[in-house]
């Protein structure tokens, strides 16, 4: 668990009748901004962010809003720059730049690259689409928001990672020369967070790119709905390299028959140019580790002796995971199950359960058809090459 101190930098000195205005943003008269109080506020808020590091926070976060008493950071990058040389340990998190609203997304790529150096690689780069009023504030057509965001993102990532100068010609942006100086310090680029407000398009974008989705200032039940939806879409998008849950590693372990075979497999994988480490002696087994396609973590393991559950189930972990005695007993000795001759039908599709990574319509079709029909429609028993039966006797 990591803790982030997220500052919104609001302007709190509102007139008593502030809620009689239609909004605190866009049209709220800027005559209510007191210049001297404003100066003091910026210094106070930056002091608070700096103190958050002293207090032990892992991250210091800032964000972007325009023409609003709600937040005084039209440019979060300026606040991040102010923090960069006054802090040493905490991550500086820009959550984030509203890249679709900026007329020139290359400027964002440049500023974040600079900040990455100023923070010695402590920078986290968030990208946001922005709230409705920002589009009025900067006169950007909101109906082009998604397209601009996606294109600005693609451009920024390419600008950060390309070793060659390139030209960019898109529907929204055109550059004849993209050749970023400086390049960012972190490789391939600073980690990317995507703050969002529940839209499935954003979930899909985050899942497909393997970024971190985040949300703030939302009731827990809404957050739960969003994250349920995010998990569903992530599963469809397929992200085996991602943690299945915060702090855990999602990986697949394959059993082999002994240490000799384990080492033979290691030779074989290394021979194909793939890095492998191990074996590690876990007591209950020996294991080697490597990455499979799409960086899925893979383990090959072997046990000399059958694993003694009494010795190897850690009561501390059982307690942490909240597994009760009854559940634990079921894990140790699963209840035996008699088949019913293959007569159990498919349950209705429940997206909270694990599902195969297939297009949704196809999955729904296959899982709702009678088994005989699936077998008849999808079986392919004929081999691709027609051959005479082999005489196994000779």
């Amino acid at each position: 668990m990591r803790f982030v101190f997220f500052h919104l930098m609001p302007y709190p000195y509102l007139p008593d009748d502030f809620d009689e205005y239609p909004s605190i943003s866009l049209t709220f008269p800027n005559k209510h901004f007191d210049r001297d109080l404003g100066t003091k506020l910026y210094h106070r808020y930056l002091d608070e962010l700096e103190h958050a590091e002293v207090a032990g926070f892992d991250g210091l976060a800032v964000n972007e809003h325009h023409q609003s008493a709600y937040g005084l950071m039209p440019s979060p990058n300026i606040m991040a720059a102010a923090l960069s040389r006054r802090t040493e340990r905490a991550r500086i998190m820009v959550l984030g730049n509203a890249i679709g609203i900026r007329g020139n997304p290359l400027r964002v790529a440049e500023e974040i690259a600079m900040l990455d150096h100023l923070t010695d690689g402590r920078l986290t780069s968030g990208f946001v689409r922005g709230i409705g009023w920002e589009y009025f504030a900067h006169s950007i057509n909101p109906t082009r928001s998604r397209a601009r965001f996606n294109e600005a993102h693609d451009l920024i990532i390419k600008a950060w990672t390309s070793d060659e100068m390139f030209q960019w010609i898109g529907d929204n942006y055109e550059y004849r020369y993209v050749n970023l100086w400086p390049r960012p310090l972190q490789q391939p680029h600073p980690p990317i967070y995507i703050p969002g407000a529940g839209s499935s398009e954003t979930f899909r974008f985050v899942a497909e790119h393997g970024y971190t989705f985040m949300s703030v200032y939302t009731p827990v039940r809404v957050i739960k709905r969003w994250f349920d939806s995010f998990r569903e879409i992530s599963a469809e998008a397929g992200n085996p390299a991602d943690p299945s849950a915060p702090g855990t590693m999602q990986h697949l372990a394959l059993n082999v028959s002994g240490l000799d075979e384990l080492l033979a497999i290691r030779d074989r994988i290394r021979d194909r140019g793939i890095n492998v480490f191990g074996p590690l002696d876990h007591g209950l087994c020996h294991s080697i580790y490597f990455a499979g396609p799409e960086n899925l973590a893979l383990e090959v393991a072997t046990s000399e002796q059958p694993i003694d559950a009494r010795a190897w189930i850690d009561p501390e972990v059982v307690g942490l995971l909240g597994i009760d005695d009854e559940q634990l007993q079921a894990f140790k000795e699963p209840e035996s199950f008699e088949g019913r001759g293959g007569t159990v039908p498919n349950p209705p599709i429940d997206w909270s359960k694990p599902q195969l990574n297939m297009p949704r319509e196809l999955l729904e079709g296959v899982m709702s058809m009678p088994d005989e029909q699936v077998t008849a429609m999808l079986s392919e028993p004929i081999p691709p090459v027609a051959v005479e039966p082999q005489d196994t006797a000779s």
Partner: protein, 264 residues
């Protein structure tokens, strides 16, 4: 849509999609270009025009029953779109009557292809950029504010607000708002170059404005009339921007009187 026996509904097939077209009446053809909120509607105003003319009322791309036409991204594309529509309908120099957003299209069409239209009637047309007479930002208006901006008669405001839109109507309004933003987000409902091009219009022109227009100030009407060679100008008293809904008789009468006098 009225169920008058005179009204016909059809779809025009163009390379980019289908155009929904309402029509009625016989006589010289009048191409009617609707306002941003006026797609797919055959109102008393149309009925009155159809007593003397063949009225042809297509929905704009992204509006009403017409397809999206995503390649129609801006006003210049929309002008080409309507040149296609005129050709596809086989119209020979039709009268072009445009209201509000449709009036802007009509003015652009008359500038770009003066020989393609028989005459031009602008009803409270958008399209000019007069910084000293700003057009109300209808993208940010909530329904009560929009009603206040559209209608002069408080009874019409109340009537507009008395009907709770169903989900289909909300979605349709969202779609049309999105389509309107293509052409009018920025510059806001205007082509800054239009004013200096108005001198190119050769068709006889009539400009009609609601005297109490709170959406597009009447100064825009005066400017149109001043810059379009030979244009006539008429103001209708006690009327808001939703002119052909609020005072259909007057607007229809002024339009038909003018069109009847045009020698094609």
């Amino acid at each position: 849509v009225s169920d008058t026996k005179e009204t016909t509904e059809r779809y025009l097939e163009l390379p980019g999609g289908r155009v929904h077209v309402l029509g009625g009446g016989t006589g010289e053809p009048v191409l009617f270009l609707h306002a941003a909120g006026g797609s797919g509607r055959w109102l008393e105003f149309h009925e009155r025009l159809a007593e003397d003319f063949e009225v042809i009322a297509p929905d704009h791309p992204g509006f009403g029953g017409t397809d999206e036409f995503p390649e129609v991204e801006a006003m210049d594309d929309l002008v080409y779109h309507y040149l296609d529509v005129i050709d596809a309908l086989g119209l020979d120099r039709p009268h072009v009557v445009g209201a509000s957003f449709g009036g802007w299209i009509a003015a652009e069409l008359a500038v770009a292809a003066p020989d393609k239209i028989g005459s031009l009637v602008l009803l409270g047309a958008a399209g000019l950029r007069l910084p000293e007479h700003p057009v109300t930002d209808l993208f940010i208006l909530k329904p009560p504010q929009l009603a206040e901006a559209l209608f002069h008669d408080p009874a019409n405001v109340a009537a507009f607000l008395s009907v709770e839109p169903d989900i289909e109507a909300v979605l349709a309004a969202y779609r049309e708002s999105t389509a309107l933003a293509r052409f009018g987000w920025a510059p806001f409902l205007a082509n800054p170059k239009l004013e200096r091009r108005l001198r190119r219009i050769t068709a006889p022109a009539q400009v009609v404005w609601a005297a109490e227009d709170r959406l597009i100030p009447i100064a825009h009407g005066h400017r149109y009339a001043e810059k379009i060679p030979g244009a006539r100008f008429t103001a209708v008293a006690n009327c808001g921007h939703a002119m052909y809904q609020e005072r259909p008789d007057e607007f229809a009468q002024i339009t038909t009187d003018f069109l009847a006098g045009v020698r094609r």
